[in-house]
Amino acid sequence: MIRWMFAIVLTALALPLAAQDSMPPAPYAYNQLADPQLEAEASALMQTLRCLKCQSQSIADSDAPMAGDMRHQVRSRILAGESPDQIRRWLIARYGDYVSYEPEVSSTTWPLFAIPVLVILIVAGVLLRRLGKRRSDGDDAGAKA
């Protein structure tokens, strides 16, 4: 009896899985590379690539089948001797820079890099003028007294 109930509970738990594809994942979706050095490279890269199905997650964080297939691409390409930067370029050539979490300076993103520098310069300018003014004010006051 208990065994039957257990079986029913297990089937109920498995139902949502049936809606997904039932294929085994790609070889390197959930398996690390044997060489720890290469795996570290692959893992660092996977942290900065966007999962296309679950767009707020990296492919390292996501359990979506497509993220698994992307991890397989990353690991097998690293194993084949490609550099992480080459693999990032390969994906950006297919999906645009949206696929990468690593910020890039491009024709649309340059203000993001330019504005902080500009703001710091303006603030520095204002600060220098104010401090300079206060000092000379103080000198004036001293001279009067």
Partner: protein, 174 residues
């Protein structure tokens, strides 16, 4: 003048609050478009996805513009687009399918149930070709010209309104 600059931070805040409110009311575009339009298909040769039809390779995209349909038997919107693909096939369009992460028996079952508009169906078990052409989901339909160059991408299921668009894009790819 002094008074005006005092209001400046509040004005900035109101501007950004307004911007946020506006963006929240706008529909979010979830689609990631392929940046491979105008690029040739990558080299690939896929095994047949089931016993009934041959597999698919880059070499099959010659002679005339064809449709490349990325689909899967486990994908629900693929059922919705099946009648439209059949209508396109009836109008003489050659559709080559790529089944993503699929099993032969599931592919055969799906085609028996919802109709088979394909001349070839390749099996892409690890989404390799899908990633290679910048497709980010199922279903997606690409127009490929006679030289094997990707000319147009349709994301999501093909609705009745999309049939004339695809026909026009095929015409443009001549």
């Amino acid at each position: 003048m002094r008074k005006l600059t005092l209001w400046l931070p509040l004005a900035l805040f109101a501007f950004f609050a307004g911007l946020a409110a506006y963006m929240l009311t706008q529909e979010k575009d979830q689609f990631v478009e392929s940046t491979m339009i105008g690029q040739p298909l990558p080299e690939f040769a896929l095994q047949p996805a089931f016993d009934g039809l041959p597999g698919a390779s880059k070499a099959d995209f010659t002679g005339k513009p064809k449709l490349l349909n990325i689909w899967a038997s486990w994908c629900l919107p693929c059922i919705a687009e099946a009648p439209q693909l059949e209508a396109l096939q009836k109008q003489g369009v050659e559709i080559i399918g790529i089944a993503i992460r699929d099993k032969p028996e599931d592919v055969a079952g799906f085609l028996a149930k919802y109709g088979n508009p394909y001349t070839r169906v390749g099996s892409d078990k690890i989404s390799e070709v899908q990633l290679g052409i910048g497709s980010s989901g199922v279903p997606e339909t690409f127009v490929i010209d006679a030289k094997g160059v990707i000319r147009y991408q349709h994301i999501g299921d093909v609705g009745a309104d999309d049939v004339p668009v695809l026909l026009a894009e095929l015409e443009k790819a001549q």
